[in-house]
C-alpha cells in the first residue's frame, strides 16, 4: 500500500516514513501543504497521513480540496491540536481518523491498517481468496493452511492484489500503490516481483491464483476465463 506523509517537522516525518516503509508501505514525503496537494493529486495513494499545521497551505484546506475533488485516499490526521473542535472540524472535513501527537507508533500503524481496510470495504483483519489467507495485522500469509514466507515488498504487492481481488490490476496501478518515489522505476520490476509471488503462492498448488491478463495486467483470484 502506498502512503503519503504530509508533515513539516522533519525528524517526525523521517521517522514515520521509515517506520512505515519497514512495515511494507510505499511512502512518499511532503514537507508542506502545497507539496502535499501536488503529490496527492498526481498519485493514487491508499492513505494519507496529514498534519494540520502546515506551511503554505494548512492541512484542513488540503483535506477539503482533496475531498472536493473526490480523492478516495483514506486520510488520517496527525496533529498536536487535540481539542474537541479540532477533531470535529477535521473529521467533518472528510478525514477518516485522527491521531494526536505524541502518539504510539503501533497505534498509528493500527489506525492506518483500519482506514485502509475500510477503504477497500474489508471488515476483517484477515483477507481471504480461496485458500489464501493474509493476516494484515501479523503480516503473515498462508496458502492451504501452510505459512508462506514473503519479503516486505512481496507482502506489499500481495496485499494490494488481494485487496483488489477478482479485479484486473494494471502495472501502473501496482506501481502507484506499492512503490514510492524512492523505488527503482525500471519497467520490469513489477513483473519480477509477480514472478517471485507466483513461485511462493502458486507453484505447489494445482489451483493458480495469480493470473496474467495479456495487454491489461494481473488479476488475483480463482480464474474464471
Amino acid at each position: 500500500m502506498r502512503v503519503l506523509v504530509v508533515e513539516d517537522y522533519a525528524p517526525l516525518a523521517r521517522s514515520v516514513s521509515q517506520g512505515l516503509r519497514e512495515e511494507g508501505y510505499a511512502v512518499d514525503l511532503a514537507g508542506d501543504g502545497e507539496e502535499g496537494l501536488l503529490f496527492a493529486e498526481s498519485n493514487n495513494y491508499d492513505a494519507i497521513v496529514l498534519d494540520l499545521m502546515l506551511p503554505k497551505v494548512d492541512g484542513l484546506t488540503v483535506l477539503k480540496r482533496l475531498r472536493d475533488k473526490g480523492n478516495p485516499a483514506a486520510i488520517l490526521i496527525l496533529t498536536a491540536r487535540d481539542g474537541v473542535s479540532d477533531r470535529v472540524s477535521g473529521l467533518d472535513a472528510g478525514a477518516d481518523d485522527y491521531v494526536s501527537k505524541p502518539f504510539a507508533f503501533e497505534e498509528l500503524l493500527a489506525r492506518l491498517r483500519a482506514i485502509i481496510r475500510r477503504r477497500y470495504n474489508h471488515q476483517d483483519r484477515t483477507l481471504r481468496v480461496a485458500d489464501l489467507e493474509i493476516d494484515t495485522v501479523g503480516r503473515t500469509v498462508k496458502r492451504a493452511a501452510r505459512s508462506v514466507s514473503l519479503s516486505a515488498r512481496e507482502y506489499a504487492l500481495l496485499e494490494y492484489l488481494v485487496a483488489r481481488s477478482e479485479q484486473i490490476v494494471t502495472r501502473a496501478e501496482i506501481w502507484e500503490h506499492v512503490y514510492d518515489f524512492s523505488a527503482d522505476p525500471s519497467s520490469n520490476v513489477v513483473d519480477v516481483y509477480i514472478g517471485y509471488l507466483r513461485k511462493k503462492i502458486d507453484l505447489d498448488h494445482p489451483v493458480k491464483l495469480i493470473h496474467t491478463r495479456r495487454g491489461q495486467g494481473y488479476m488475483l483470484g480463482v480464474d474464471t476465463p
Binding site: 517526525l12 521509515q18 501527537k101 505524541p102 504510539a104
Partner: protein, 483 residues
C-alpha cells in the same frame, strides 16, 4: 445584616413609642389632675359664698346642698373651720372625725393627698378665706379679721381609673405598633436587601469556568451600581488574564507535543527491530538534536515566566558588542551555511555597551535565529550599530519582508507568520516575545520594519541613553565574520 437592620429599626421604633406614650400619658395625667384640682377649687369657691361672717365672729352658713357632696355612694367632702379652729360646718358624709388639714397661707390653695372618711384615696384642697360680710369684699382682709379655712376633698378613683386605662391602651397600642412595624421593617429590609442578596448569590456563582459572565441584578440600588461596575471590570480583567493563561498553556503544550512526537517516533521505530550500529547512532543523534531544541524552548519559556513574575535580576557590565555578536552568530552559522546565507558583523570593534551580557546574548541569539530561519535561501544577514546614536544595534536580513498585517503581532507569544513550525521547537513563536520582554528589562525598545529595498530590520534602540551609555567607537576598520 438583615437581622441587624430589622433589630435597629425595631429598637428605634420601640424607644420612640415609649417616649411618645410617656409624653401622652404624662400630658393627659397633668391635664386630668389639673381639671380635678380646678373642680376642687371651683367647689371651694362656691362653698365659700354660702358662708357669711357677721358681727362678733358670728357665721351664717347657708348651704342648700350640692349634688356632689350629697351622693351617697361616692360622695365628695368639705369642712369649714372658724378662725379659732373650731369646726364651722362639714358635708353630710364627713363622719367619724374631721377632714385632715394642713397649715396654709391666706388665699393660696394647698393640694394634698390623704384618705377620705369612707377609706378611699382622695385629693384634698385647702384654702383660707375671709367670708363675705354683708358689706365686705371676701378677699380684702381687714386688719382685725382672721380667715376661715375650708377643705374640699374628692375621691380620685375616676381619674386613677382613666389613667390606668390610658396606660393600658398606650401599652397595647405601643405593642401592636411595634409588632406591626417590626413585621413591616423585616419585610421592607428584606425587600430592599434583595438586590444585595441576589448580588451575593451571583458573585458566589462565578468561578474560574464562568469568568466571562457579568453581574446583572434587577432593581439594583443606585448605591450598589459603582461597586458592581468595578466588580465587572475586575471580572473582565480576570477573564482576560485566565484566557491568556489558558492560551499560553495550550500553546506550550502544543509546541512541546510535536518534538515529543518526533522523539517518540524515532525511538519506537528504531527499537522495532535490530539494526546496524550506525542506524542506532543516527537515531540517537537525531533524538539529541530534538532534546536540545526542546531544552532551548523550555529555557525560553522559563525566562518568559521569570519576566512575567518580575524575577529577573539585571547586571550591569561593560560588554564588547562586536565580540558578543560574533559569539552569538557561531551557534547559527551551520544552519546559515546550510541555507546559503552570508553574515556580516558591521559593529565597530571598539564598541562597548554597559548592559547585562547574558540577556543581550539571548536577545541577539533569538534575532539571529529568526533571521536565519526566515531569510530566503542565498540571502544576507547584517548586524550593525554600536555608534552611540541611540541605536544599540540593528539586525537586518535580505527578506522577504514581513507581511504588513502581521507586523503588529510578531512580538506576541506563539504568533508566527503562518500556522506551521519551521524548524519546530527552535521557532515556536516565543523567540520574539522573549526578545521584547528582555528588551523591556534592559530599557531597550525593540522594533521591526520592512525597508524599501525589501529587507527586514530589527532595531534595538536605547530608551534611556544615560543608563546604557553606549560608547562611540573610534574609527577603525571593522572586522567581519561571515557564514
Amino acid at each position: 445584616m438583615r437581622f441587624r437592620l430589622t433589630a435597629a429599626v425595631l429598637g428605634v421604633l420601640s424607644v420612640s413609642m415609649v417616649a411618645f406614650s410617656t409624653f401622652v400619658y404624662w400630658a393627659t395625667r397633668h391635664d386630668l389632675w389639673q381639671g380635678f384640682d380646678a373642680w376642687l377649687y371651683r367647689e371651694s369657691q362656691s362653698l365659700s359664698h354660702v358662708v357669711e361672717e357677721h358681727a362678733n365672729s358670728r357665721f351664717v352658713f347657708e348651704y342648700q346642698g350640692i349634688a356632689a357632696f350629697e351622693d351617697r355612694r361616692r360622695p365628695a367632702y368639705f369642712q369649714f373651720w372658724k378662725p379659732d379652729g373650731t369646726v364651722m360646718a362639714r358635708s353630710r358624709w364627713v363622719v367619724g372625725g374631721d377632714l385632715p388639714r394642713k397649715s396654709g397661707d391666706f388665699g393660696n390653695p394647698t393640694y394634698f393627698w390623704s384618705t377620705l372618711p369612707d377609706g378611699r384615696r382622695g385629693r384634698f384642697m385647702q384654702v383660707a378665706f375671709l367670708p363675705r360680710g354683708p358689706t365686705q369684699s371676701i378677699n380684702i382682709p381687714p386688719p382685725n379679721r382672721q380667715p376661715t379655712t375650708i377643705v374640699v376633698a374628692r375621691g380620685s378613683e375616676d381619674v386613677d381609673e382613666s389613667l390606668g386605662q390610658l396606660r393600658l391602651r398606650l401599652a397595647g397600642l405601643g405593642f401592636l405598633v411595634v409588632l406591626g412595624a417590626g413585621a413591616a421593617a423585616a419585610f421592607m429590609v428584606g425587600r430592599e436587601l434583595q438586590p444585595a442578596v441576589a448580588l451575593a448569590s451571583k458573585i458566589g456563582g462565578i468561578d474560574v469556568q464562568h469568568l466571562g459572565e457579568r453581574i446583572t441584578v434587577d432593581r439594583l440600588p443606585t448605591e450598589l451600581e459603582p461597586p458592581v461596575a468595578k466588580l465587572n471590570e475586575l471580572l473582565g480583567r480576570l477573564d482576560e488574564s485566565f484566557a491568556r493563561e489558558r492560551r499560553f498553556t495550550s500553546d506550550v503544550s502544543h509546541e512541546l507535543r510535536t518534538p515529543l512526537a518526533g522523539l517518540r517516533a524515532i525511538l519506537e521505530v528504531t527499537a522495532a527491530r535490530l539494526r546496524a550500529p550506525a542506524a542506532y547512532q543516527g537515531a540517537i543523534d537525531e533524538a539529541h538534536v530534538i532534546v536540545l531544541q526542546m531544552q532551548a524552548m523550555v529555557e525560553n519559556l522559563l525566562m518568559l515566566a521569570r519576566l512575567d513574575g518580575k524575577q529577573i535580576e539585571v547586571l550591569h557590565e561593560e560588554v564588547a558588542l562586536f565580540a558578543l555578536v560574533n559569539d552569538c552568530w557561531k551557534l547559527h552559522a551551520p544552519k546559515a551555511t546550510e541555507r546559503g546565507l552570508t553574515f556580516e558583523n558591521q559593529i565597530p570593534g571598539a564598541a562597548i555597551v554597559e548592559t547585562d551580557r547574558d540577556k543581550l546574548r539571548l536577545i541577539l541569539g533569538n534575532l539571529l535565529a529568526n533571521a536565519v530561519a526566515y531569510t530566503a535561501p542565498g540571502g544576507r544577514v547584517v548586524v550593525s550599530g554600536g555608534a552611540g546614536n541611540g541605536v544599540l544595534l540593528d539586525v537586518c536580513d535580505s527578506g522577504p519582508p514581513i507581511p504588513e498585517p502581521m507586523m503588529a503581532r510578531i512580538f506576541e507569544r506563539f504568533f508566527r507568520a503562518e500556522a506551521a513550525r519551521s524548524d519546530a521547537a527552535a521557532h515556536c513563536g516565543i523567540g520574539l516575545a522573549l526578545v521584547k520582554g528582555l528588551c523591556e528589562v534592559l530599557a531597550l525598545d525593540v522594533s521591526a520594519a520592512n525597508l524599501p529595498d525589501g529587507s527586514v530590520r530589527f532595531r534595538l534602540a536605547m530608551v534611556d541613553a544615560d543608563r546604557k551609555r553606549a560608547k562611540p567607537a573610534t574609527p577603525q576598520p571593522a572586522s567581519r565574520a561571515a557564514a
